[in-house]
Subunit: 325 residues, 2 copies
C-alpha cells in the first residue's frame, strides 16, 4: 500500500514529516510517496544512512502561501504538494493522502480534485478521541464553521459508518453536543438538529454536555464545525496545561527525580498526548484523506499514516458510500 504524504505541510516540515514517513515505512510496512520540492526532499533524505526503498519522492515544485482564499491559491498552483498528492490518489497511484497542512486548503483541494461521495452535501472533519471507554469520533471539528440543521443527520450517518467499519463498533451510540442534556437545551441550530436526529435511523442518545465527551459516553458526537474545533483545541490546550501543573507539582514534592516518577510522567503524558490520537479523517470526499495536526512531530505523522492505512485496509470509503443510500 502506498500513502501519499504532503512533505511540505505543517509547522515542522519537512524534517519531522520525513522522519515520520521513515518510521511509518519501517514500523507499519507501508510505502510512502513524499510529495514536495524534489531537491529539498533529496537533501532531507540524505541525512539518513539508508532510507528504505519504500520511500519515494514525487516532485511538487509549487508552494502555496496561505491567503484569504485557499481555493484561488490552489487553482493557480496545480503543482503544489497538496494538489499533487491528491492527484496521486485520484489516479489510483496512492491509496490515501496524509497532510499536516492547512485544514481549509486541504478541504478545498480535496473537493476540487476528488469530489464528494455521491449524495454527500457536506464533508466533515472527524477527530478520534481516546477515552477510557474506547474511541469517540467527534465531527465536524473544522470543515464547516457554519452549519444548517440538515447537515447534522448527514454527519451522524458518516460517523456511524466510519465507526462501524473502521473500529468494528456494533451499535453505534450517537449523541448531539449541547449545553445541557434536556432536549430543550441548545441554541436554535442544535434544537432543530435534535429534532432531525431523533427521526434519523440511528441509535440517538440525545444531547450530551461537553464534560461527558472525555468519559466516552457516545461513539459519535455530532457538532457544528466551529464548536467542534473549539472542543478539540481546548482538549489540546488543557492537556498541555495539565502537564505543566503536574511537572511543577512533581518538582515541588520530589526535588530529586526518581525512575518511578519518570515512568509516572511518561504514562500520564502518553495518555494525554494528542500525537497518540493520530490524524483527523476528512469524511465525505471521494478518497481517503487524513489531516494531521499542524504542529505534528514525527510520531504524529506516523500515527496519521497508521490511521490512513487502517481506513484503506477496512475499505472505509465503501462503507461511507453505502451510508448514503
Amino acid at each position: 500500500m502506498k500513502i501519499a504524504l504532503d512533505a511540505m505541510g505543517g509547522d515542522h516540515a519537512p524534517g519531522e514529516i520525513v522522519r515520520g514517513a521513515l518510521d511509518a515505512a519501517t514500523l507499519l510496512g507501508v510505502e510512502v510517496a513524499l510529495v514536495g520540492g524534489k531537491h529539498f526532499l533529496e537533501v532531507e533524505l540524505a541525512r539518513y544512512s539508508s532510507p528504505p526503498d519504500a520511500i519515494t519522492i514525487v516532485d511538487a515544485p509549487q508552494v502555496v502561501v496561505m491567503e484569504e482564499s485557499p481555493i484561488n491559491a490552489l487553482r493557480q498552483k496545480p503543482k503544489s504538494s497538496i494538489m499533487v498528492g491528491l492527484d496521486l490518489v485520484k489516479a489510483g497511484k496512492a491509496a490515501a493522502f496524509v497532510t499536516a497542512g492547512n485544514t481549509g486548503a486541504t478541504m478545498a483541494a480535496a473537493l476540487m480534485v476528488l469530489g464528494r461521495i455521491e449524495g454527500v452535501e457536506r464533508p466533515a472533519l472527524g477527530s478520534v478521541l481516546a477515552t477510557p471507554a474506547g474511541p469517540t469520533l467527534l465531527l465536524d471539528v473544522g470543515a464547516n464553521a457554519d452549519c444548517k440543521p440538515s447537515f447534522f443527520p448527514e454527519f451522524a450517518r458518516l460517523g456511524k459508518a466510519y465507526m462501524e467499519r473502521v473500529f468494528g463498533i456494533a451499535d453505534t451510540r450517537i449523541a448531539l453536543l449541547s449545553n445541557g442534556e434536556e432536549y430543550v437545551k441548545g441554541n436554535h441550530l442544535v434544537r432543530e438538529a435534535h429534532e432531525l436526529l431523533k427521526q434519523a435511523p440511528i441509535n440517538f442518545l440525545g444531547n450530551i454536555e461537553s464534560k461527558d465527551i472525555p468519559r466516552g459516553v457516545a461513539h459519535v458526537v455530532i457538532s457544528d464545525g466551529f464548536t467542534g474545533n473549539i472542543v478539540i483545541k481546548l482538549l489540546e490546550g488543557v492537556s498541555e496545561t495539565f502537564m505543566d501543573i503536574l511537572n511543577q507539582a512533581l518538582s515541588l514534592q520530589f526535588p530529586a527525580a526518581t525512575s518511578p516518577l519518570h515512568n509516572l510522567w511518561q504514562e500520564v503524558e502518553r495518555r494525554l498526548d494528542y500525537a497518540e490520537y493520530g490524524g483527523a479523517p476528512l469524511l465525505g470526499v471521494n478518497g481517503v484523506v487524513v489531516i494531521a495536526h499542524g504542529r505534528s512531530n514525527a510520531k504524529a505523522v506516523k500515527n496519521a499514516i497508521r490511521v490512513a492505512k487502517q481506513e484503506v485496509e477496512k475499505d472505509m470509503l465503501e462503507a461511507l458510500r453505502g451510508a448514503r443510500i
Copy 2:
C-alpha cells in the same frame, strides 16, 4: 455584610449549602441569610452544636420544579427560594444573592426581580478561570445560547469593567474566542462580532483559539453563551478525567502510597478543582448575583460567597453601571 443564600438550590442542598454558609460565616466574616423551607433548615442547623449568630433563616416555603418554562414556574411561586432571595437584595436587606440552582431560572428570576442595569441589552454569565498568568473571565458561559453580533461589544464592556474593578487589572486585554487566530476565521456570528469589537474602545487582541484560554493570554474572553458553556463544562470534564488518569498512573507506579505522593495528588487536585474558582457572576442585572455550580459542595458554596463578598466590597455594580455610559 449580609449575603442571601439559596439553601434549596443545587444537587447537594440543603446539607452542603448550609455547611458552606457556616464556613463562610466563620472564615469570611459575613452574615448569611439561608433562604428556604424554614423547618427543613432548622433541622439542618440543629446538626451543628453552636451555629454562629451570623446565620439566619428566611422562610421560602414554595419549591420550584424545573419545567420547560422557568419564567412561568417562578411567576407562580413568588415564595420560592430564588425569588425570596432576590427580593432580599432588591429590598436592600441583603448585599448579594448566591445560588447553586438552575442558571436559566436564576437569570429569568433576576431579570424579573432586579431588572437590568440601564443600557444593558443582555446580561451575561461570567466564569473566572484560574490560569498561570492570573484570572481570566470567560463570558457568556450560558445566559444567552443564541447571540447577535451586537451582544459581543456589550459583553466586552461588562467584562472589562468587572476585571478592572474586582481584580484591579489596569489595561484589560480582551479577546474573541474563535476557531483560528486570523480575523477571517470564525462562523458568521464571530466574524461580524470581530468587526464590531475592533471598533469598540477596548484593548482588543483579536481572535484566540480555545487552547490559549488555559494559558491566560487574555483577561477577558468573549463568546456566545452556547460555546462558552461548552468550554467551561469541558474544562470540568477534562479535569476529572485527568485526575482519574493520574490516579491510575500513580497506583501503577507507586503501589504503596507515600506521603509526598499524597501531597502531589492534593497539589494537582487543588489547582484543577472547579470549587477553587468560586461562583459565576451574572453581569448586567441590577444587583450582585453569583451562580455556583449545581454540584457545589460546601467549599464551592463558601467560595461563591467569597466571590459575592468581593464584588460587593469593590462596588462592582457601580463599575458596571459606568461601563454603560
